[in-house]
């Protein structure tokens, strides 16, 4: 019991004397804040990217592309294939008993961003059934496109990024002039980055015949997937790959998110090493300015353990403050910050928001504590080994 009281007493003295050492202590705080802010920001990019690509609808869905196609955009399916797929088992039916199937065309078009740069946007075509298969697409202004007309609807992120996509605007693309008739909310999915129009109209504007890139189906249950997949993949007329939406999107986002993770851990790791040196310096300085005080404590009967632990407590406290500041900086600056980038097997630009999640904040604080502990370790040992007599004599 007395050991605990000693620890508490020494730690309290330490912490109360912190304001006197504000200059050197700020080194630990700012160093760790920098590490945590960078780590969390880069990982927030990766998390946001994954979140957007993997935001799936409320229903179990499957996507069918041609064998070996790693992305919708490089897949080609014939109309016959789409009809065969629609008749497969395991597909959920709507109230009229029709299967919930959406054959979709996807191409990419050049648009001007609001800052004047060229960028490529994905342009999707589906039939009216597409809305039933993708209930996450909801109109927020204007109305849906009508079949047979060169009308398009635009995702809310796309509308923010590109110029000239307001409702009523005309968009001149190759082969046709499209009229923007509505803006939709894709519920945070990658559809928010897209333009969508009637599939037949899109195909004829781009002279694409009757084919499509992919077929999306709603499954009647999670178990329906196996029946559906078996029926499709054993059909010799079809050369297609079937995946659940989750599998498909996970594979789409893996490359970019892996790159971002490597960047975060390599840059964050190197920075952390720098911050450890800074923390060591500060804690050594703290121990040496208090060496007489520590020696006095030892002389009047305090054991080495309370001294060691008090140094740790101080380092940990500073690290926690630094970690919290770093997480706060990342959250204030970047949470919800919208960026766009190519990649993800998506074809055009994907627009996504950075996401600073509680898990990331937890990771950042953990890193902060580890840096603080390592930074406190060697100075704590030195404090414990301080020869009492010499230290007391030192001026």
């Amino acid at each position: 019991m007395s050991a605990l009281r000693q620890i508490a007493a020494v730690s309290a003295i330490n912490i109360r004397s912190l304001p006197q050492r504000i200059g050197t202590s700020s080194v630990v705080v700012i160093g760790i804040a920098g590490v945590v802010a960078v780590l969390i920001s880069v990982l927030a990019m990766s998390t946001g990217f994954i979140k957007t690509l993997q935001r799936t609808g409320p229903e179990h869905r499957a996507i069918v592309v041609r064998t070996g196609s790693s992305a919708e955009i490089v897949s080609v399916l014939t109309n016959d294939a789409a009809l065969t797929i629609a008749n497969a088992p395991g597909i959920k039916k709507d109230r009229d008993g029709r299967p919930l199937v959406s054959p979709e065309t996807l191409l990419i078009v050049n648009l001007k961003k609001k800052d004047g740069d060229d960028a490529t946007a994905p342009f999707r075509g589906f039939t009216q059934d597409g809305f039933a298969v993708h209930p996450e697409i909801r109109m927020i202004s204007g109305r849906a496109f009508r079949p047979g007309l060169t009308e398009m609807i635009v995702g809310k992120s796309a509308q923010r990024l590109y110029s000239g996509l307001d409702v009523g605007a005309q968009v001149k693309l190759r082969g046709a002039t499209w009229i923007v008739v509505g803006v939709f909310d894709g519920s945070g999915s990658s559809h928010d980055s897209e333009l969508i129009a009637d599939k037949q109209t899109l195909n004829s504007a781009y002279q694409r015949g009757n084919g499509e890139q992919s077929v999306w189906v709603v499954l009647d249950s999670q178990r329906g997937f196996q029946a559906f997949k078996d029926a499709i993949t054993t059909n010799p007329q079809l050369q297609v790959d079937v995946s659940t939406e989750e599998e498909f999107t996970a594979q789409q986002s893996s490359v970019i998110s892996t790159i971002l993770k490597i960047v975060a851990y390599v840059v964050g790791g190197i920075m952390a090493i720098g911050a450890i040196f800074g923390a060591l310096n500060t804690m050594y300085a703290a121990v040496s300015t208090r060496s007489r005080e520590i020696a006095t404590l030892r002389a009047i009967g305090f054991g080495p353990a309370p001294v060691v632990i008090s140094v740790f407590v101080e380092a940990l406290l500073l690290a926690l403050i630094g970690g919290a500041i770093g997480a706060l900086i990342a959250w204030v600056l970047f949470n919800g910050y919208s960026v766009n980038s190519a990649g993800g097997g998506f074809g055009g630009q994907l627009i996504f928001d950075l996401a600073v999640t509680p898990a990331l904040v937890g990771l950042g604080i953990t890193w902060a504590c580890v840096i603080g502990l390592i930074g406190g370790l060697f100075p704590a040992i030195r404090a414990a080994r301080l020869p009492v007599a010499t230290a007391l004599r030192a001026v």
């Binding site: 080194v27 160093g31 880069v42 050049n110 050594y284 074809g347 630009q349």
Partner: protein, 384 residues
């Protein structure tokens, strides 16, 4: 110079602190060199490419195809010397995860337009003689251990052949050794196959390719020639966009612009954080030695001399650590470069790094140096 020992002794007055401070500066410059080296290295790779090449792609996007027949019409444009073309094969080896940069081309023209690939006439002749032949870059051959004579099965994510399968096989007829300096170029580690063979064997989108490489007689005429090439297809369904190679590469990089911006912001944050650490520690180190500086003044050093001594000490520390950090980053870039491609530590990055080191030394050394100069001997000796 005669004060060197004095400065040296001051520097090592507290060994642990000096070493730790130095290490954090080393880390800061390691990161600086690494991130800037990659960033600038990629940009320099862009500026390096010769400008007598134009790239023609589908105006809609680079992954849409254009008719190969355009080639003959392009040759009629004044100033066009040679035209080669490229089509994406979307190849992979054994597993879709092992993507192989395989392209179909007319190899004879490609060899002329890209002399840095170092494709010999004998290799071109071998390709002509073997229809399912493939010519591969040394880096790719090394990676998979492929040799001339090997038959390589490739899957493709795009093309089905006449058998209805997407499994193809090619015979390696040659391995070319790209000239030094072009190793970062993706074309240098490509898997080239014969367009004629591939076009006959595939099921759809026949007679269409993805990109033309146009060699012009004079880079000064590039803009005019590009406009004339695009005029050939104006108002047709296959409108083209022709850009110089540089412009095309740059606009592709711009697609990643936002991520680039954030990466730069990170470098800023890293440098600020680590430099703050260092400056703070160095100021503290001088502060502790105020009585010693007072002694120096007592024995006759002028205020100016003492402040110069303090500044030189901080310069030595910063410059030495910065040089070590930059050397380490050069090593790190080599490792990264072998994975990422074009990344080198350019002299400009080194110079910029040294300038930052000097600035750091002045920022962290100047306030204590000024203080040392204005030092009141009596007060300082009394520890006030």
């Amino acid at each position: 110079m005669k004060y060197f020992m004095l400065i040296w002794a001051g520097l090592w007055r507290k060994k642990t602190r000096t070493v730790l401070t130095m290490l954090s500066i080393v880390v800061a410059f390691l990161l600086f060199g690494l991130l800037q080296g990659i960033n600038q290295g990629i940009k320099a790779g862009l500026g390096d490419t010769s400008n007598n090449r134009l790239w023609t792609t589908n105006r809609m996007s680079a992954i849409n195809s254009i008719p190969v027949s355009l080639m003959d019409r392009m040759m009629t444009v004044k100033g066009v010397r040679n035209v080669a073309h490229l089509s994406f094969f979307g190849g992979y080896f054994q597993d879709a995860k092992n993507a192989i940069p395989a392209f179909a081309t007319n190899i004879d023209k490609l060899a002329i337009i890209y002399p840095e690939l170092n494709i010999t006439q004998a290799q071109v002749a071998a390709m002509k003689a073997t229809r399912p032949g493939a010519l591969i870059g040394r880096p790719l051959a090394k990676k998979y251990g492929w040799k001339v004579g090997d038959k390589i099965p490739l899957g493709t994510t795009i093309w089905t052949n006449n058998d209805g399968s997407n499994n193809w096989a090619f015979d390696i007829v040659g391995i070319f050794d790209p000239l030094p300096g072009s190793h970062g170029n993706p074309l240098a580690s490509a898997f080239w196959i014969n367009y004629d063979y591939w076009d006959e064997a595939r099921q759809f989108d026949k007679h269409r390719i993805h990109q033309f490489f146009v060699q012009v007689d004079d880079p000064a005429h590039s803009a005019v020639i590009a406009a004339q090439i695009d005029k050939l297809t104006e108002n047709s369904f296959d409108e083209t966009r022709t850009q110089t190679e540089n412009a095309a590469l740059q606009s592709r990089l711009k697609q990643f612009a936002d991520i680039n911006f954030i990466a730069n912001a990170i470098v800023g944050a890293v440098m600020f954080t680590l430099l703050f650490l260092t400056a703070n520690t160095m100021m503290q180190s001088v502060r502790e030695r105020i009585p010693e500086l007072a002694v120096l003044k007592t024995v006759g050093f002028t205020g100016a001399k003492v402040s110069v001594l303090v500044l030189i000490e901080s310069l030595m520390l910063c410059l030495f650590a910065a040089v070590v950090g930059l050397i380490l980053s050069a090593g790190a870039i080599k490792i990264v470069g072998s994975v990422l491609g074009p990344a080198t530590l350019l002299p400009i990055v080194v110079i910029f790094g040294l300038v930052i080191a000097v600035a750091l030394a002045i920022v962290s050394g100047l306030p204590p140096a000024m203080r040392a100069q204005r030092l009141n001997i009596v007060d300082a000796l009394a520890g006030r």
